[in-house]
Assembly symmetry: C2
Homo-oligomer: 787 residues x 2
Amino acid sequence: MIFLRDNILLREPLRPEHIKPRLLGHWGTCPGITLVYAGLDKLVCETGTPTMLVTGPGHGAPANHASLWLEGTHADLDPALTRDTAGLTELVRRFSWPGGFPSHLSPQVPGVIHEGGELGYALATATGAALDHPDLLVACLVGDGEAETGPTAAAWAASRYLDPVHDGAVLPILHVNGYKIASPTQSGAADDEDLLSLYTGHGWAPRIVDVRGDYHDPELSPDARMAEALSWAHSRIRQVQEAARNGADANVPRWPMLVLRSRKGWGLPAESGGAPLEDTVRAHQVPLPHAADDAAELADLEQWLRSYRPDELFGADGVPAPDILACCPTGDLRLGANPVTDGGRLRRPLPLPDVRPFAVDVPEPGGARAGATPTAGPWLAALLRETETRRDFRIMCPDELESNKLGAVLEVTGRAWQPEPPVAAAHLARDGRVMEVLSEHNCQGWLQGYLLTGRHGLFPCYEAFVSIVDGMTNQYAKFLKVAAEVPWRHPVASLNYLLTSEGWRQEHNGYSHQGPGFINMMLTKKASVARVYLPPDANTLLATLEHCLDSVDRINVVVAGKNDGPQWLDLDDALAHCRAGAGVWEWAGTEARHGDGPSADDSPTGSPGARRPHPDVVLACAGNIPTVETLAAAEMLRRDAPGLRVRVTNVVDLLTLPPAERHPHGLPDAEFEKCFGGAGVPVVFDFHGYPSAVHECLHGRPDASRFHVKGYIEEGTTTTPYDLLASNGVSRHDIAVEALRRAEGWSTRGGELADRYARERDDILVELRRTGQDPVAISEWTWDGGR
Amino acid sequence: MIFLRDNILLREPLRPEHIKPRLLGHWGTCPGITLVYAGLDKLVCETGTPTMLVTGPGHGAPANHASLWLEGTHADLDPALTRDTAGLTELVRRFSWPGGFPSHLSPQVPGVIHEGGELGYALATATGAALDHPDLLVACLVGDGEAETGPTAAAWAASRYLDPVHDGAVLPILHVNGYKIASPTQSGAADDEDLLSLYTGHGWAPRIVDVRGDYHDPELSPDARMAEALSWAHSRIRQVQEAARNGADANVPRWPMLVLRSRKGWGLPAESGGAPLEDTVRAHQVPLPHAADDAAELADLEQWLRSYRPDELFGADGVPAPDILACCPTGDLRLGANPVTDGGRLRRPLPLPDVRPFAVDVPEPGGARAGATPTAGPWLAALLRETETRRDFRIMCPDELESNKLGAVLEVTGRAWQPEPPVAAAHLARDGRVMEVLSEHNCQGWLQGYLLTGRHGLFPCYEAFVSIVDGMTNQYAKFLKVAAEVPWRHPVASLNYLLTSEGWRQEHNGYSHQGPGFINMMLTKKASVARVYLPPDANTLLATLEHCLDSVDRINVVVAGKNDGPQWLDLDDALAHCRAGAGVWEWAGTEARHGDGPSADDSPTGSPGARRPHPDVVLACAGNIPTVETLAAAEMLRRDAPGLRVRVTNVVDLLTLPPAERHPHGLPDAEFEKCFGGAGVPVVFDFHGYPSAVHECLHGRPDASRFHVKGYIEEGTTTTPYDLLASNGVSRHDIAVEALRRAEGWSTRGGELADRYARERDDILVELRRTGQDPVAISEWTWDGGR
């Protein structure tokens, strides 16, 4: 696949024109993948165990393609990839060819739930796939390069979380061929003793499979060694599961894992052009890169390819020999055809509980206090109860469920945990459906594997630390984007983040715990994939979560508060507001008081005769805390500047801001103008995150520079909530000052008031530094009801 | 510190008014930190070993503060923190108080090079600090929560990279107190055998120090146990180093590490309010949160605090008892006063080689071909040669040096690697000063530790995968921001990323290897910290690297190509262009041909009488590949639309784009207009990364919506370079089409030409899918010299 465009079966001498013009791919890891794939095929044929393979070294895609073609999965999904010369030629040509298969594994490849381009995530993904699939065996190849990554290193902890009763098994196969791109690997340098010690310490039962010997010696046959090892692993897995399922063994299982030692690029000529080739870094990518131009390399290539004896492997028509075909499982037992690998086929919509009984009663805006995540917790608990038998909804969280005030879910299910619980620990259960581990990488990987095999989930996380998985989310967004373009793939449940414990209320922690940058990262993703929601209170959070958990093929980022605070919308208004994505809160502004006539302003604006722009200023806000500050500012202005026409607009769905041609959620121009006024109307936008996120969304909106965005500007430490807001210029006083300074015609009259607000702000800052806390008027502020 | 604002030494009964109004902090991990700090003090006093402590659980800051106050470092740096009642009261009050010390470790705290807020990076940071500091002992506390993170799990590999001859030692101390925030830890659940097995497998010599017994039994004294273990570790380290330094032992060292088992919140009352307290998750944060309001809790608090017997520890004046003070090292041997922990004090400017001999000879724009990183490689090699004795410059790279075409550096120094090199491996050396590991987390952590202890470095990385360290970079930017505000901290060398193997030329890999989002992340950082440079060719890369390696206190992101391509600027022009940050390339546009008069355009633009805006369109570009495409488009338009006034502007420094009030590099309005024309002039901006990065920079520039930004829009796969550009709408044809459609007055005449270009583009796409490669006219395009 890496080399040939024609003469695939070498029915004639190899000539330069048979070679592709661009040689793109990676040979080094392929032989190991083929060995493992074939070994698994044999195991499946013998045991009938439903099995899938997660391939960490995804750049070994040709090995997977070959096996998929051999087992007939390719032909099932694409009639051009038949099991004959024509189909094989088409497959080989397509590889790394414009418009064909990419050089790495990808969603276009059957059986794949993990691309393996950015290394590190195979093992966690495999673990997620095994959860709640009790009969499934998830084999997972981990390259020795990948094994150096942090996410992989953390993922070995799976042994302490997999429940032998309700979950399937993960069989990790560490493929040690000794080299990464250009240098030796840590695993390659470790002796057997260290490797066995390491993986024993991680809680596994490791076994070494060394196939570096003389391959032609039947005593040392790699296939026989692999088969023996897989058979041992399978028996051990079944023993563990049967003992646990019969109640015969309550010990923490020590699952098998294999260390496969092979030569990098195994099967290559030992040398070419006078330099070693097999078992060196030269084998990593394209081992004979000048085959089209260099006669000696072409001869080496031909000799190498013929060493596989294609004439014995294929009949005259290119159909593989019957004894080879007989090695492949059939139907859904084929690794590429296991239904879980196209998880959308199995996905059932969640039985979402009605949100109404969980909603906060909000008789009028500001007329109740509640916390958003504490309100969502019981609803999520109800969802966990509804799915108790189905076991297709899980929550993954980096040990922050209780800190994020979602502890209600623990009344329904425990934290998954296999070891003996310590005396003082609560809410641990071997069959728990919430998973807490202090590794965002594991949470993300587990959830990806869980979703892509047909289930649902939620990832609550401290907002500041979710950036730890930026790289994984990047790659997952790519997977979703491509998967949606593959005709045979079925939609999967969305990946839902609930980001809370946001920086504005991280008093126990301070600067390191402030970081809203995940929003910016998400905004770089495809419009078809990315969604960012900032519900301002509890009922809007309920409405948002209900929507997200019912959606497919998206990454939904929901940012919500956990602290007690004023509630703005009753459930019906919340549902309507979330459907719209953004809207004017008329009860919070003063436009209705002024009617359509000119305001009491002393200086008309615009050019003579122009229609005076309404309102004088728009106070926009997105996010829980900014909404409170904006409404407090609106209240101050209503009281102190009664002549000022203020419109208050709240944004739940950040992607209503871009022009409609850039994002499907972008408000049409007329709707946008309803929310934010037309050209010339100043908007003071109090934003939860970095101002840049709003800036980039607004590009292309007419007169975007009228938006003055306030947000987190990386000023932070351990201090009071008000001090933090003021440091970043987003306190109620800052908003009111900015509004007065920006409102046209108010620079003089408003200036005095603005100065007063600025002085008030500074007085508060002095006071809170003295007392160590915010003044009661700030910390216990409640909306005056608009009266 | 967590509780008291007064009566610190309990000279009177504890009353509610002595309690802080907001109780913020984390007690659980503090006792272990204190034990380790005191143990290290004893070791230093006995051995005189220069030692520092990297504290992973930075939320245990009160423990560090206490020891720093005791050893007198605090008083040295702040006269208010004297070693008496007044100083102690001030210290205790300041903790978690607005305007005081944050609740976590931070750059404000002496001896600290690692904040420990976002967990996972302590061990890699400690490793970086030890490199090239042969006499230094870097003790590193790793919490058992932190030990679950991927970055920590990967960092144990340090044992295979630390050179016993040239590097100092890292002594990891895994602090197992059994619980993270709310649930048990993996390490806590593992038995001693598994822990010993795990860390032996990682290449260390582990020893368990269990202090959970009866503390008052002298036989079980925690201090004695810790002292004995530290003494063992120290001896072993010295043996390893002496053997290696005398040439007596060439084996890979097995460095000591400790596992400290303690009770979480050790020293707390066993229970409070009828529920267990010590050794439970309740000990994690504030164990008696209602002490100010609840008399029983206040009594518990008083009893607990008195259990430390303050009257014995302090004299009447609050000065610690002489026997306690005698336990502290003095001068620079104090852990908080080790000069390496304020690395800027030790930093010497790099002996940067003159770039001139390394520059590409560019007789005229486009008159040479070269690769950017292949040009920079020899210059970096020269720098490594210049620093061979000083050993204060290193390159950390995730095994991509050669792939990134920086292999020249390996002619000067090897890759650091302690194990026996495999037969086929080259360029490995125990004293190597480039470090390759397939873990971006390790590269980043090592480099942070290296820089913060006074040295210099470079982190070359595939651009797409540097997002793996988004979280770490976030935190490091915070560290730099705060450190610059601390009066006694000295500037450290900047952290320099060289991002290459960019997505536009990732033919071997495809979609997973395309991701320019690190730029967007960097744009969220403080203007005082973040820099983003996109040198368009080899000489501009040299100029940029020279600037970055000479700078301090910044994070410089440099994005450059590795492939052969046209060169635009000779060295002098490159230096000038990089100094300006952005500039018009007059030789590439057509304005000079047209003079100041009206163009040959057929339809005047703007309102009658208005001065015709010049030029008709600006072609702006930033980045290596976009510059090529933009110049190719400019050439096409010069040839096919001679009447069109085109200005070509290249941007090296992305932060010239924001308004000057938002970023210090922002071009003043007049300069901006010189580059991009004034309001109404359309700009077609071909950008290396996501268009949103340019969008957000432009917010606030007048009439920003005239900028039509083209960039990476997440369309990608394994294909030809042109196909990838066209998929994302940034090919030369797309740029030329956009220019014609946007240039005012050209919609009719230009429309026909635009249609022709679009057809050409589509023909090329058909052709390359047939042949598997780009047409020669595209792949071998060279600038026509503007003639």
